[in-house]
C-alpha cells in the first residue's frame, strides 16, 4: 500500500546519477542525470538501428532493412510534400528529429524507463528553437516582406487591422503549442499508466481470486500500453510534420 502514497508525477523527477562538483567559476556542478542517460540511450538506439539494419548496403533488402527503407521513404515523402523537392536540405534535420523523439518516447514505454520528452524544458526548448530558427530563416530569405505573412490573402481591407494581431498571436503561439503538445501527450499517458498500475498491483497480490478477477482490468491496462506505443509514434510524426509545415510557411510565405 505504501506506493499509493507516492505521487504519480514522481516518475518525471530528474535526478543525478554521476556528479562532479568543482569550486571553480563560483560553483560548477556537472552531472550525468537520468534524463542525460536516456538521451544517450535514444541516440545510441537510433544510430545502432540504422547501422545494424543497413544490411551492408546490399541491393536485396532484408526484413530489417525494409523497415528502415520504408521509414526513410515516409520521412522523405513528408519533407518533399511539405517543403518541396528543392528544399531537401532540411531532410537530415527532420529525419534526426523524428528518430530522436521516437526513440525517446519508446524508451520511456519500457517499464521503469525515463521518457526524455516528459521534460517541459526539452520539449519547449526544441519547439522554441525550431520557431526561432524558422523565423530567422524567413527573415533572411524575405527581409521585410516576411511581415506580409500576417496579412491573409483575400482579406477585406477593413478587417486587416483586426486580422493582423490575431495572425501574429497565432504565429507566436506555434513556439509553445509545438512543444506543449508533445509534452502533454507524454505526461498524460505515463501519469495514467502509473495511476492504473498503482491500483492493479495490490489487486494482483491480495489473493488468488482477486488476482483472477483483476485479469480483466489488466487487459484494459495492456491495451492502454499499446495505445501509448502508438501515441509515441504519432507524436514523433506530428512534431516533424508541423516542423516541416512551419519551414514551408517560412520559405513560401503562404
Amino acid at each position: 500500500m505504501s506506493f499509493l502514497l507516492h505521487s504519480p508525477l514522481e516518475q518525471f523527477e530528474v535526478s543525478s546519477l554521476v556528479n562532479l562538483q568543482l569550486p571553480v567559476l563560483g560553483y560548477t556542478n556537472i552531472s550525468l542525470t537520468n534524463l542525460g542517460l536516456y538521451t544517450i540511450i535514444a541516440v545510441y538506439l537510433s544510430l545502432a538501428f540504422h547501422f545494424v539494419a543497413s544490411n551492408n548496403k546490399s541491393v536485396i533488402p532484408s526484413r530489417w532493412s525494409i523497415s528502415l527503407e520504408s521509414s526513410f521513404a515516409s520521412v522523405h515523402s513528408l519533407v518533399k510534400a511539405q517543403i518541396g523537392a528543392a528544399n531537401e536540405v532540411y531532410l537530415p534535420f527532420i529525419y534526426s528529429l523524428f528518430f530522436f523523439i521516437l526513440f525517446a518516447n519508446l524508451s520511456g514505454n519500457v517499464p521503469y524507463g525515463f521518457t526524455v520528452t516528459t521534460s517541459i524544458i526539452v520539449a519547449l526548448g526544441l519547439s522554441v528553437t525550431i520557431f526561432l530558427g524558422v523565423t530567422i530563416l524567413s527573415l533572411s530569405l524575405h527581409k521585410l516582406h516576411f511581415f506580409s505573412f500576417f496579412v491573409p490573402t483575400g482579406a477585406p481591407t477593413a478587417l486587416i487591422p483586426l486580422l493582423v494581431p490575431i495572425e501574429i498571436i497565432s504565429y507566436l503561439a506555434r513556439a509553445v503549442s509545438l512543444g506543449v503538445r508533445l509534452f502533454a501527450n507524454m505526461v498524460a499517458g505515463h501519469t495514467l499508466l502509473k495511476i492504473l498500475s498503482g491500483f492493479l498491483a495490490p489487486m494482483f497480490t491480495s489473493g488468488i481470486i482477486a488476482a483472477v478477477v483483476t485479469l480483466l482490468p489488466f487487459t484494459i491496462f495492456v491495451a492502454l500500453i499499446g495505445l501509448e506505443i502508438a501515441v509515441s509514434f504519432i507524436q514523433a510524426y506530428v512534431f516533424c510534420i508541423l516542423t516541416a509545415s512551419y519551414l514551408k510557411d517560412a520559405i513560401d510565405l503562404h
Binding site: 542525470t33 534526426s96 530522436f100 526539452v122
Partner: protein
C-alpha cells in the same frame, strides 16, 4: 510538478541539443547518403 524545478534545466537542454546535433551530423554525413546511393543503384539496375 518536478518538471518545473529549474536546477537541471541547463543540464537537460545541453544534453538534448548536443545529442540532437550528433544525430544530425551522423545522419547527414553517413546514413542518409547511404540510402540515396542504394535507391540510385536500384534505379540504375532496373533502368539500364
Amino acid at each position: 510538478m518536478p518538471q518545473l524545478l529549474p536546477f537541471y534545466f541547463v543540464n537537460q537542454l545541453t544534453f538534448a541539443f548536443v545529442v540532437l546535433m550528433i544525430m544530425v551530423y551522423v545522419f547527414s554525413k553517413y546514413i542518409l547518403p547511404m540510402f540515396t546511393e542504394l535507391f540510385l543503384t536500384r534505379m540504375y539496375i532496373t533502368k539500364l
